[in-house]
Protein backbone atom coordinates (compact mmCIF):
# COMPACT_ATOMS: atom_id res chain seq x y z
CA UNK A 1 0.00 0.00 0.00
CA UNK A 2 2.69 2.56 -0.66
CA UNK A 3 3.39 3.03 3.04
CA UNK A 4 5.90 5.56 4.34
CA UNK A 5 9.13 3.91 5.44
CA UNK A 6 9.22 5.38 8.93
CA UNK A 7 5.65 5.54 10.22
CA UNK A 8 4.92 7.77 13.21
CA UNK A 9 1.42 6.45 13.60
CA UNK A 10 -0.04 3.24 12.29
CA UNK A 11 -3.71 2.34 12.08
CA UNK A 12 -4.60 -1.31 11.65
CA UNK A 13 -8.06 -2.58 10.78
CA UNK A 14 -9.70 0.40 12.42
CA UNK A 15 -13.48 0.55 12.52
CA UNK A 16 -15.43 3.30 14.25
CA UNK A 17 -19.09 2.93 15.18
CA UNK A 18 -21.63 5.50 16.30
CA UNK A 19 -24.07 3.18 18.05
CA UNK A 20 -24.99 0.59 15.41
CA UNK A 21 -23.83 2.72 12.49
CA UNK A 22 -20.36 1.95 11.20
CA UNK A 23 -18.69 5.21 10.17
CA UNK A 24 -15.19 3.85 9.44
CA UNK A 25 -14.72 0.40 7.97
CA UNK A 26 -11.59 -1.62 8.57
CA UNK A 27 -9.06 1.06 7.66
CA UNK A 28 -5.31 0.51 7.81
CA UNK A 29 -2.90 3.35 7.10
CA UNK A 30 0.53 4.65 8.11
CA UNK A 31 1.38 8.33 8.56
CA UNK A 32 4.91 9.66 8.86
CA UNK A 33 6.84 12.78 9.77
CA UNK A 34 8.37 13.09 6.32
CA UNK A 35 5.02 13.65 4.65
CA UNK A 36 1.94 15.74 5.11
CA UNK A 37 -0.92 13.28 4.77
CA UNK A 38 -4.29 14.50 3.47
CA UNK A 39 -7.59 12.71 4.01
CA UNK A 40 -10.10 13.60 1.32
CA UNK A 41 -13.59 12.41 0.50
CA UNK A 42 -17.19 13.58 0.38
CA UNK A 43 -19.14 14.58 3.48
CA UNK A 44 -19.98 11.62 5.65
CA UNK A 45 -17.17 9.46 4.24
CA UNK A 46 -15.67 8.98 7.71
CA UNK A 47 -12.48 10.96 7.20
CA UNK A 48 -12.99 13.29 10.19
CA UNK A 49 -14.18 10.46 12.39
CA UNK A 50 -11.09 8.48 11.45
CA UNK A 51 -8.85 11.51 12.10
CA UNK A 52 -10.37 11.96 15.57
CA UNK A 53 -9.54 8.32 16.34
CA UNK A 54 -5.85 9.30 16.13
CA UNK A 55 -5.96 11.14 19.45
CA UNK A 56 -9.05 9.50 20.93
CA UNK A 57 -11.29 12.52 20.41
CA UNK A 58 -14.10 10.04 19.78
CA UNK A 59 -13.89 9.10 23.48
CA UNK A 60 -15.85 12.25 24.20
CA UNK A 61 -18.79 11.02 22.11
CA UNK A 62 -20.86 8.73 24.31
CA UNK A 63 -21.98 6.12 21.77
CA UNK A 64 -18.78 6.04 19.70
CA UNK A 65 -16.76 2.83 19.70
CA UNK A 66 -13.38 2.18 18.09
CA UNK A 67 -12.17 -1.25 17.01
CA UNK A 68 -8.75 -2.23 15.70
CA UNK A 69 -5.45 -0.69 16.68
CA UNK A 70 -3.88 2.72 16.34
CA UNK A 71 -0.29 2.96 17.47
CA UNK A 72 1.94 5.95 18.17
CA UNK A 73 5.59 4.91 17.83
CA UNK A 74 4.40 1.32 18.01
CA UNK A 75 2.39 1.77 21.22
CA UNK A 76 -1.35 1.18 21.02
CA UNK A 77 -3.08 4.42 22.01
CA UNK A 78 -6.23 2.49 22.94
CA UNK A 79 -4.43 0.31 25.51
CA UNK A 80 -5.61 0.69 29.09
CA UNK A 81 -2.28 2.15 30.24
CA UNK A 82 -2.46 5.09 27.83
CA UNK A 83 -2.80 8.50 29.52
CA UNK A 84 -5.25 10.30 27.24
CA UNK A 85 -4.23 13.79 28.40
CA UNK A 86 -0.61 12.94 27.64
CA UNK A 87 -1.64 11.43 24.31
CA UNK A 88 -3.40 14.62 23.25
CA UNK A 89 -0.29 16.61 24.10
CA UNK A 90 1.72 14.34 21.83
CA UNK A 91 -0.98 14.26 19.17
CA UNK A 92 -2.33 17.80 18.91
CA UNK A 93 -5.38 18.94 17.03
CA UNK A 94 -6.51 22.02 15.12
CA UNK A 95 -10.19 22.39 14.31
CA UNK A 96 -12.23 23.88 11.52
CA UNK A 97 -13.29 26.94 13.47
CA UNK A 98 -10.54 28.73 15.31
CA UNK A 99 -11.33 28.30 18.99
CA UNK A 100 -8.90 30.39 21.03
CA UNK A 101 -9.49 30.54 24.78
CA UNK A 102 -11.12 33.83 25.86
CA UNK A 103 -7.79 34.84 27.30
CA UNK A 104 -4.80 36.85 26.16
CA UNK A 105 -2.74 35.79 23.17
CA UNK A 106 0.10 34.98 25.55
CA UNK A 107 -2.09 32.85 27.80
CA UNK A 108 -3.53 30.91 24.86
CA UNK A 109 -0.07 29.65 24.00
CA UNK A 110 1.31 29.44 27.56
CA UNK A 111 -1.60 27.43 28.94
CA UNK A 112 -0.56 24.03 27.59
CA UNK A 113 3.14 24.15 28.52
CA UNK A 114 2.17 25.39 31.99
CA UNK A 115 -0.32 22.59 32.81
CA UNK A 116 2.01 19.98 31.32
CA UNK A 117 4.90 21.40 33.37
CA UNK A 118 7.06 22.00 30.31
CA UNK A 119 8.45 25.37 31.44
CA UNK A 120 10.93 25.81 34.29
CA UNK A 121 9.96 29.41 34.95
CA UNK A 122 8.69 32.67 33.51
CA UNK A 123 11.68 33.19 31.19
CA UNK A 124 11.37 29.65 29.95
CA UNK A 125 7.66 30.07 29.34
CA UNK A 126 8.24 33.35 27.51
CA UNK A 127 10.70 31.57 25.26
CA UNK A 128 8.24 28.78 24.50
CA UNK A 129 5.49 31.29 23.69
CA UNK A 130 7.78 33.23 21.39
CA UNK A 131 9.10 30.11 19.66
CA UNK A 132 5.61 28.71 19.15
CA UNK A 133 4.22 31.96 17.78
CA UNK A 134 7.22 32.24 15.47
CA UNK A 135 6.73 28.72 14.16
CA UNK A 136 3.07 29.47 13.61
CA UNK A 137 4.06 32.56 11.62
CA UNK A 138 2.19 34.87 13.96
CA UNK A 139 4.94 36.42 16.11
CA UNK A 140 5.59 39.51 13.98
CA UNK A 141 1.89 40.35 13.94
CA UNK A 142 1.24 39.98 17.68
CA UNK A 143 4.55 40.49 19.54
CA UNK A 144 3.55 43.99 20.65
CA UNK A 145 0.10 43.00 21.87
CA UNK A 146 0.53 39.69 23.60
CA UNK A 147 -1.76 40.81 26.42
CA UNK A 148 -4.69 41.45 24.11
CA UNK A 149 -7.43 38.87 23.88
CA UNK A 150 -6.93 36.01 21.41
CA UNK A 151 -10.51 36.37 20.30
CA UNK A 152 -9.79 39.93 19.07
CA UNK A 153 -7.55 38.60 16.30
CA UNK A 154 -8.78 38.02 12.73
CA UNK A 155 -10.01 34.53 11.79
CA UNK A 156 -6.77 33.62 10.06
CA UNK A 157 -4.69 34.93 12.96
CA UNK A 158 -6.89 33.04 15.43
CA UNK A 159 -6.30 29.82 13.49
CA UNK A 160 -2.54 30.40 13.53
CA UNK A 161 -2.84 31.11 17.25
CA UNK A 162 -4.52 27.71 17.66
CA UNK A 163 -1.68 26.12 15.72
CA UNK A 164 0.83 27.93 17.97
CA UNK A 165 -1.12 26.60 20.95
CA UNK A 166 -0.87 23.06 19.58
CA UNK A 167 2.84 23.46 18.86
CA UNK A 168 3.58 24.89 22.33
CA UNK A 169 3.32 21.50 24.05
CA UNK A 170 5.88 20.12 21.59
CA UNK A 171 3.66 17.51 19.95
CA UNK A 172 4.85 14.78 17.62
CA UNK A 173 1.74 14.71 15.48
CA UNK A 174 -0.64 17.52 14.49
CA UNK A 175 -4.11 16.61 13.28
CA UNK A 176 -5.93 19.30 11.33
CA UNK A 177 -9.63 19.04 10.63
CA UNK A 178 -10.54 21.46 7.84
CA UNK A 179 -8.16 24.07 9.28
CA UNK A 180 -8.73 26.66 6.56
CA UNK A 181 -12.31 26.14 5.48
CA UNK A 182 -13.54 29.15 7.47
CA UNK A 183 -10.78 31.44 6.21
CA UNK A 184 -10.40 33.75 3.22
CA UNK A 185 -7.91 32.84 0.44
CA UNK A 186 -5.06 34.94 1.84
CA UNK A 187 -5.42 33.52 5.36
CA UNK A 188 -5.76 30.07 3.78
CA UNK A 189 -2.52 30.53 1.86
CA UNK A 190 -0.77 31.49 5.11
CA UNK A 191 -2.03 28.34 6.82
CA UNK A 192 -0.94 26.25 3.84
CA UNK A 193 2.49 27.85 3.85
CA UNK A 194 2.68 27.15 7.57
CA UNK A 195 1.79 23.49 7.03
CA UNK A 196 4.54 23.36 4.45
CA UNK A 197 7.06 24.79 6.92
CA UNK A 198 6.02 22.48 9.74
CA UNK A 199 6.44 19.41 7.58
CA UNK A 200 9.27 17.19 8.72
CA UNK A 201 9.15 18.59 12.27
CA UNK A 202 5.76 17.04 13.01
CA UNK A 203 3.73 14.31 11.38
CA UNK A 204 0.83 16.29 9.95
CA UNK A 205 -2.51 14.83 8.95
CA UNK A 206 -5.03 17.17 7.39
CA UNK A 207 -8.66 16.53 6.59
CA UNK A 208 -9.97 18.75 3.83
CA UNK A 209 -12.95 19.12 1.53
CA UNK A 210 -10.85 21.27 -0.71
CA UNK A 211 -9.06 18.96 -3.11
CA UNK A 212 -6.87 21.72 -4.44
CA UNK A 213 -5.73 22.29 -0.89
CA UNK A 214 -4.91 18.60 -0.46
CA UNK A 215 -2.99 18.76 -3.73
CA UNK A 216 -1.12 21.86 -2.59
CA UNK A 217 -0.08 20.89 0.92
CA UNK A 218 0.23 17.11 1.07
CA UNK A 219 2.64 14.50 -0.22
CA UNK A 220 0.37 11.56 0.59
CA UNK A 221 -3.35 11.50 -0.03
CA UNK A 222 -5.96 9.04 1.22
CA UNK A 223 -9.38 8.99 -0.39
CA UNK A 224 -12.28 7.85 1.77
CA UNK A 225 -15.74 6.91 0.61
CA UNK A 226 -18.61 5.45 2.63
CA UNK A 227 -16.29 4.74 5.53
CA UNK A 228 -13.77 2.84 3.43
CA UNK A 229 -10.24 3.81 2.52
CA UNK A 230 -10.55 3.58 -1.26
CA UNK A 231 -7.08 4.64 -2.33
CA UNK A 232 -3.92 5.83 -0.59
CA UNK A 233 -0.81 6.97 -2.40
CA UNK A 234 1.50 9.78 -3.44
CA UNK A 235 -0.52 12.97 -3.85
CA UNK A 236 0.88 13.51 -7.34
CA UNK A 237 -0.30 10.06 -8.41
CA UNK A 238 -3.72 10.41 -6.84
CA UNK A 239 -4.34 13.68 -8.68
CA UNK A 240 -2.85 12.77 -12.06
CA UNK A 241 -3.40 9.03 -12.29
CA UNK A 242 -5.71 7.54 -9.66
CA UNK A 243 -6.03 3.77 -9.92
CA UNK A 244 -9.54 3.32 -8.58
CA UNK A 245 -12.54 4.59 -10.58
CA UNK A 246 -14.26 5.87 -7.43
CA UNK A 247 -11.24 8.07 -6.64
CA UNK A 248 -11.12 9.36 -10.18
CA UNK A 249 -14.82 10.21 -10.28
CA UNK A 250 -14.50 12.12 -7.02
CA UNK A 251 -11.43 14.16 -7.84
CA UNK A 252 -12.55 14.97 -11.38
CA UNK A 253 -15.91 16.19 -10.10
CA UNK A 254 -18.00 13.38 -11.54
CA UNK A 255 -19.22 12.20 -8.23
CA UNK A 256 -22.69 10.65 -8.10
Amino acid sequence: MNAPTDPKMTARNVSVYYGAKQAVKDVSIDVSKEHVTAFIGPSGCGKSTFLRAFNRMNDTISNARVEGEIALDGENIYSSGMDVVQLRARVGMVFQKPNPFPKSIYENVAYGPRIHGLAAGKTDLDAIVEKSLKRAGLWEEVKDRLKESGTALSGGQQQRLCIARAIAVDPEVILMDEPASALDPIATAKIEELIHELRGRYAIVIVTHNMQQAARVSQKTAFFHLGELVEYGDTSDIFTNPKVPRTKDYITGRYG
Binding site: M211, Q212, T240, N241, T247, K248, G253, R254, G256
Partner: protein, 233 residues
Protein backbone atom coordinates in the same frame (compact mmCIF):
# COMPACT_ATOMS: atom_id res chain seq x y z
CA UNK B 1 -10.82 3.41 -16.81
CA UNK B 2 -14.60 3.54 -16.81
CA UNK B 3 -16.22 6.85 -16.09
CA UNK B 4 -19.56 6.88 -14.39
CA UNK B 5 -20.83 9.90 -16.24
CA UNK B 6 -20.50 13.59 -16.87
CA UNK B 7 -19.20 16.17 -14.45
CA UNK B 8 -21.51 17.46 -11.77
CA UNK B 9 -20.68 20.86 -13.23
CA UNK B 10 -22.14 20.62 -16.74
CA UNK B 11 -20.14 23.60 -18.02
CA UNK B 12 -17.00 21.51 -17.49
CA UNK B 13 -18.29 18.88 -19.94
CA UNK B 14 -19.21 21.60 -22.40
CA UNK B 15 -15.69 23.05 -22.24
CA UNK B 16 -14.16 19.61 -22.77
CA UNK B 17 -16.50 18.96 -25.72
CA UNK B 18 -15.59 22.30 -27.25
CA UNK B 19 -11.90 21.46 -26.95
CA UNK B 20 -12.41 18.03 -28.51
CA UNK B 21 -14.39 19.59 -31.37
CA UNK B 22 -11.52 22.01 -32.07
CA UNK B 23 -8.95 19.21 -32.13
CA UNK B 24 -11.24 17.12 -34.27
CA UNK B 25 -11.68 19.94 -36.78
CA UNK B 26 -7.90 20.41 -36.94
CA UNK B 27 -7.44 16.70 -37.57
CA UNK B 28 -9.97 16.78 -40.41
CA UNK B 29 -8.19 19.70 -42.07
CA UNK B 30 -4.76 18.08 -41.75
CA UNK B 31 -6.04 14.80 -43.13
CA UNK B 32 -7.61 16.58 -46.07
CA UNK B 33 -4.35 18.48 -46.72
CA UNK B 34 -2.39 15.20 -46.86
CA UNK B 35 -4.81 13.58 -49.31
CA UNK B 36 -5.33 16.68 -51.41
CA UNK B 37 -1.62 17.54 -51.74
CA UNK B 38 -0.97 14.00 -52.98
CA UNK B 39 -3.86 14.17 -55.45
CA UNK B 40 -2.49 17.45 -56.77
CA UNK B 41 0.97 15.95 -57.12
CA UNK B 42 -0.29 12.96 -59.07
CA UNK B 43 -2.60 14.99 -61.28
CA UNK B 44 -0.26 18.00 -61.49
CA UNK B 45 -3.10 20.22 -60.26
CA UNK B 46 -1.23 23.46 -59.63
CA UNK B 47 -4.31 25.47 -58.60
CA UNK B 48 -5.38 22.76 -56.19
CA UNK B 49 -1.90 22.73 -54.65
CA UNK B 50 -2.02 26.48 -54.13
CA UNK B 51 -5.36 26.07 -52.40
CA UNK B 52 -3.82 23.50 -50.02
CA UNK B 53 -1.04 25.95 -49.17
CA UNK B 54 -3.53 28.71 -48.47
CA UNK B 55 -5.82 26.51 -46.40
CA UNK B 56 -2.98 25.81 -43.96
CA UNK B 57 -3.53 29.24 -42.37
CA UNK B 58 -6.78 27.93 -40.91
CA UNK B 59 -4.86 25.26 -38.96
CA UNK B 60 -2.66 27.92 -37.37
CA UNK B 61 -5.74 29.84 -36.27
CA UNK B 62 -7.35 26.70 -34.81
CA UNK B 63 -4.15 25.77 -33.00
CA UNK B 64 -4.17 29.16 -31.28
CA UNK B 65 -7.83 28.65 -30.36
CA UNK B 66 -7.15 25.18 -28.96
CA UNK B 67 -4.26 26.53 -26.92
CA UNK B 68 -6.45 29.29 -25.50
CA UNK B 69 -9.20 26.76 -24.74
CA UNK B 70 -6.77 24.55 -22.78
CA UNK B 71 -5.38 27.48 -20.80
CA UNK B 72 -8.93 28.61 -19.99
CA UNK B 73 -9.94 25.08 -19.00
CA UNK B 74 -6.99 24.72 -16.63
CA UNK B 75 -7.55 28.17 -15.14
CA UNK B 76 -11.31 27.94 -14.71
CA UNK B 77 -12.03 24.23 -14.20
CA UNK B 78 -8.87 22.97 -12.47
CA UNK B 79 -9.08 19.59 -14.23
CA UNK B 80 -7.75 16.55 -12.40
CA UNK B 81 -6.66 13.00 -13.24
CA UNK B 82 -7.79 11.93 -16.73
CA UNK B 83 -9.34 15.35 -17.38
CA UNK B 84 -5.99 16.98 -16.69
CA UNK B 85 -4.15 14.43 -18.82
CA UNK B 86 -6.63 15.01 -21.63
CA UNK B 87 -6.22 18.79 -21.45
CA UNK B 88 -2.43 18.48 -21.60
CA UNK B 89 -2.72 15.95 -24.42
CA UNK B 90 -5.01 18.30 -26.35
CA UNK B 91 -2.46 21.08 -26.00
CA UNK B 92 0.34 18.90 -27.38
CA UNK B 93 -1.84 17.30 -30.04
CA UNK B 94 -2.94 20.67 -31.42
CA UNK B 95 0.75 21.51 -31.93
CA UNK B 96 1.43 18.16 -33.58
CA UNK B 97 -1.53 18.47 -35.94
CA UNK B 98 -0.39 21.95 -36.91
CA UNK B 99 3.02 20.49 -37.80
CA UNK B 100 1.37 17.73 -39.81
CA UNK B 101 -0.41 20.47 -41.74
CA UNK B 102 2.96 22.12 -42.41
CA UNK B 103 4.34 18.90 -43.88
CA UNK B 104 1.29 18.53 -46.13
CA UNK B 105 1.65 22.18 -47.15
CA UNK B 106 5.30 21.56 -47.98
CA UNK B 107 4.31 18.67 -50.22
CA UNK B 108 1.74 20.87 -51.94
CA UNK B 109 4.36 23.57 -52.53
CA UNK B 110 6.51 21.07 -54.41
CA UNK B 111 3.76 20.22 -56.90
CA UNK B 112 4.53 23.21 -59.13
CA UNK B 113 8.13 22.05 -59.47
CA UNK B 114 7.02 19.03 -61.47
CA UNK B 115 6.50 19.38 -65.21
CA UNK B 116 3.07 18.62 -66.59
CA UNK B 117 4.30 15.73 -68.63
CA UNK B 118 6.75 13.07 -67.64
CA UNK B 119 6.44 10.13 -65.37
CA UNK B 120 8.64 9.01 -62.53
CA UNK B 121 8.34 5.42 -61.53
CA UNK B 122 8.75 5.78 -57.70
CA UNK B 123 5.78 8.11 -57.76
CA UNK B 124 3.53 5.08 -57.87
CA UNK B 125 4.30 4.20 -54.24
CA UNK B 126 3.58 7.67 -52.86
CA UNK B 127 -0.25 7.71 -53.03
CA UNK B 128 -0.44 4.57 -50.94
CA UNK B 129 2.01 6.05 -48.46
CA UNK B 130 -0.08 9.22 -48.26
CA UNK B 131 -3.22 7.14 -47.78
CA UNK B 132 -1.69 5.35 -44.79
CA UNK B 133 -0.36 8.60 -43.32
CA UNK B 134 -3.78 10.26 -43.61
CA UNK B 135 -5.44 7.23 -42.09
CA UNK B 136 -3.02 7.22 -39.17
CA UNK B 137 -3.83 10.86 -38.49
CA UNK B 138 -7.53 10.08 -38.77
CA UNK B 139 -7.34 7.11 -36.40
CA UNK B 140 -5.10 8.92 -33.89
CA UNK B 141 -7.62 11.77 -33.68
CA UNK B 142 -10.53 9.34 -33.49
CA UNK B 143 -8.78 7.61 -30.62
CA UNK B 144 -8.43 10.99 -28.91
CA UNK B 145 -12.10 11.86 -29.26
CA UNK B 146 -13.15 8.40 -28.05
CA UNK B 147 -10.43 8.14 -25.36
CA UNK B 148 -9.61 4.78 -26.95
CA UNK B 149 -6.21 3.48 -25.83
CA UNK B 150 -6.40 0.32 -27.97
CA UNK B 151 -7.03 2.33 -31.12
CA UNK B 152 -4.12 4.65 -30.21
CA UNK B 153 -1.87 1.64 -29.84
CA UNK B 154 -2.87 0.39 -33.32
CA UNK B 155 -1.73 3.70 -34.80
CA UNK B 156 1.70 3.30 -33.22
CA UNK B 157 2.02 -0.21 -34.60
CA UNK B 158 1.04 1.02 -38.04
CA UNK B 159 3.91 3.50 -38.17
CA UNK B 160 6.30 0.71 -39.14
CA UNK B 161 4.46 0.25 -42.46
CA UNK B 162 5.10 3.91 -43.25
CA UNK B 163 8.77 3.58 -42.34
CA UNK B 164 9.05 0.57 -44.63
CA UNK B 165 7.42 2.51 -47.45
CA UNK B 166 9.86 5.33 -46.95
CA UNK B 167 12.80 2.94 -47.12
CA UNK B 168 11.54 1.41 -50.36
CA UNK B 169 11.01 4.82 -51.93
CA UNK B 170 14.39 6.00 -50.70
CA UNK B 171 16.12 3.09 -52.40
CA UNK B 172 14.05 3.36 -55.56
CA UNK B 173 14.84 7.06 -55.88
CA UNK B 174 18.56 6.46 -55.34
CA UNK B 175 18.51 3.94 -58.18
CA UNK B 176 16.57 6.32 -60.35
CA UNK B 177 19.01 9.14 -59.72
CA UNK B 178 21.97 6.91 -60.51
CA UNK B 179 20.42 6.02 -63.85
CA UNK B 180 20.52 9.61 -65.05
CA UNK B 181 21.53 12.93 -63.55
CA UNK B 182 18.51 14.45 -65.31
CA UNK B 183 16.31 12.72 -62.77
CA UNK B 184 18.02 14.20 -59.76
CA UNK B 185 15.98 17.40 -59.27
CA UNK B 186 12.59 15.72 -59.39
CA UNK B 187 13.83 12.73 -57.42
CA UNK B 188 15.20 14.95 -54.70
CA UNK B 189 11.83 16.64 -54.37
CA UNK B 190 10.05 13.31 -54.28
CA UNK B 191 12.43 12.19 -51.58
CA UNK B 192 11.34 15.20 -49.54
CA UNK B 193 7.70 14.37 -50.22
CA UNK B 194 8.26 10.83 -48.96
CA UNK B 195 10.21 12.12 -45.97
CA UNK B 196 7.38 14.53 -45.15
CA UNK B 197 4.89 11.66 -45.19
CA UNK B 198 7.17 9.63 -42.97
CA UNK B 199 7.37 12.56 -40.54
CA UNK B 200 3.59 12.86 -40.62
CA UNK B 201 3.45 9.22 -39.56
CA UNK B 202 5.84 9.95 -36.69
CA UNK B 203 3.67 12.85 -35.57
CA UNK B 204 0.53 10.72 -35.80
CA UNK B 205 2.37 8.21 -33.61
CA UNK B 206 3.23 10.95 -31.13
CA UNK B 207 -0.44 11.94 -31.05
CA UNK B 208 -1.39 8.31 -30.44
CA UNK B 209 1.14 8.09 -27.61
CA UNK B 210 -0.39 11.19 -26.00
CA UNK B 211 -3.87 9.68 -26.42
CA UNK B 212 -2.73 6.47 -24.80
CA UNK B 213 -1.27 8.40 -21.89
CA UNK B 214 -4.38 10.56 -21.52
CA UNK B 215 -6.61 7.48 -21.54
CA UNK B 216 -4.58 5.21 -19.27
CA UNK B 217 -2.08 7.33 -17.33
CA UNK B 218 0.70 5.06 -18.60
CA UNK B 219 3.14 5.34 -21.47
CA UNK B 220 3.28 2.98 -24.43
CA UNK B 221 6.52 1.06 -24.05
CA UNK B 222 6.49 -1.58 -26.76
CA UNK B 223 6.06 0.25 -30.03
CA UNK B 224 7.82 -1.34 -32.99
CA UNK B 225 10.18 0.87 -34.98
CA UNK B 226 11.03 0.54 -38.63
CA UNK B 227 14.57 0.71 -39.90
CA UNK B 228 15.64 4.17 -40.96
CA UNK B 229 18.13 4.67 -43.81
CA UNK B 230 19.94 7.14 -41.56
CA UNK B 231 20.51 4.49 -38.92
CA UNK B 232 23.89 2.76 -39.01
CA UNK B 233 23.61 -0.64 -40.65
Amino acid sequence: METTGGHTLKAFDEDMDELRALISEMGGLAEEAIRESMRCLIQRDYDGARAVVEADGKLDVLEAQAEAAVVRLIALRAPMADDLREAVAALKISGLVERIGDYAKNNAKRVQLFAEAGRIEPLSLLPEMARIAAEMVHNALDAFIQRDAAKAHEVCVRDKALDDFYNSIFRALLTFMMESPKNITESAHLLFVAKNLERIGDHATNIAEMVYYAATGDRITDRPRGHNPADPE
